[in-house]
Symmetry: C2
Subunit: 313 residues, 2 copies
Amino acid sequence: MTHIALPDTVRIVDVGPRDGLQNEPKMLPTAQKIQLVQALCAAGVHEIEVTSFTHPRWIPNLADAEDVVRATRDMGFTSFALVPNRRGLDRALAAGVDGVTLVMSVTDGHNQANLNRSAADSLEELLTLHALAAQAGLKVRVSLSVVFGCPFAGAVSPDAVVQVIDRFVAAGARRIGLCDTIGVALPHQVHALSAQLMARHRDVEFELHLHDTRGMALANAFAGLLAGIKSFDAAIGGLGGCPYAPGATGNSASEDLNAMLTGMGIATGINQENLLQGAALLADWRGRPLESAAWRLATAHKTLCPKPKGNPA
Amino acid sequence: MTHIALPDTVRIVDVGPRDGLQNEPKMLPTAQKIQLVQALCAAGVHEIEVTSFTHPRWIPNLADAEDVVRATRDMGFTSFALVPNRRGLDRALAAGVDGVTLVMSVTDGHNQANLNRSAADSLEELLTLHALAAQAGLKVRVSLSVVFGCPFAGAVSPDAVVQVIDRFVAAGARRIGLCDTIGVALPHQVHALSAQLMARHRDVEFELHLHDTRGMALANAFAGLLAGIKSFDAAIGGLGGCPYAPGATGNSASEDLNAMLTGMGIATGINQENLLQGAALLADWRGRPLESAAWRLATAHKTLCPKPKGNPA
């Protein structure tokens, strides 16, 4: 290949306030969550997944979902909240979100562990939720977990993913996220699945939700770009990931993805310096380093290697 | 783009014993260096840059260059050593390396800081060294620093890189490394420069030497693969980088690159589990975590997320 084509603009949806904070060992206080969302909005992030309307028994860190939505809904960005069921949708509507993210896994094993029912049952429930949310005038994102690999099933066939997606598309879904939930995707795989799905459903916007567990989030994002993907989930600070993998990094970090995209001349609307102010809020509270390269670099030194010793190559 | 082509096989040259160890705050004892090289060789790394024949005043960590070369030269891999000048070449020859890496920067500012002379002066000296090394029957790699960006000059024009490379090619160089010395390269840039150079010099093997400073080493490697690059420098444990950037990660980690390549079905000849044994040697000695995602993951837990809480997506 002698030439590559990149899009002019790409959307980053920051899912940090939801996917990043839900697995932290302590709860970010509500006032600081609101500050974080404000910082992201001020940096130019146009879409933010601010919380999840899951029962607080399951995600105590996000027990303040209503408060966060209400305090941030007039800031000028498009707010999304994850909703796992009808009760969550009702709560989200009452709180006044702009959109909802509906999530299920494409494998029974992961869906059972995560949502306590079969993938088939989740599919039927989410199709109903999709219709209700659309009727209520909400934007709707469908997020499909473990499409690139599952901790229970191992490899996941593209056919299995296609089957689920066909059902959602037939029911009217036009924005579907492909989630590398456990960070096992490989660039050629991301490219192939993205290209296959985009060719199959040309009127659907496919999004990528990548994790940096194996350091491949940006490689996978680049592969997705080459396939034509123009929307990516990412989390400020690289927070998130699996609570059973304490050393593994989490979501693709917004600041790393933004650095790569804007560095390549792709407009995201996001100011990197301002974005790092959001990361600073998290770092102060967290008490341990954030997971992003951009944060490490920004805090390590302000200038690039003025005088290396030895022979760098 | 609906289809991508990847090579069947790719070479990883582990430069960890040289580029990784030279900037560590303490010296890895010679016996452990030899063990490290042995571990890399046993893992299937066919080419290893084992040391640098630079004056010990500049790189005290590698003051044992002769000992390392002599103790490892019959292990069955191809050994390289960096040589900065005629004296270094003579030492390398006497010690019995298989090949040498000749290094210079394509910008005056970085070359001056690093090698204490102009780029033009280094070029003339290296052309002489190249001829001498080739006459002596050594394999020769030319490594060009800061081709994707310089801490002093900022952006580096492809034309400036081409000019230097043309001189080396005219003098017989057939293996030329493009080094992202400070980790500022972007995937589209890596692709473009690699493709341009490969089209210009079809009989030259271009190699990529990437740093993970901004988390883009694997994205850049993937971009290089798409351009047709089939040889990559990497360092076990992700060691290396700039001594003035304590929080920044170093070289592209061999174990992360190997995971990506083999995961995509590309043969490297390197066994990942055995490679991590080399990383374990370093980790024990270093007393602080290695920089690679594969190492973090391997040491954090042995199974992937058996039962995540909440709603991962």
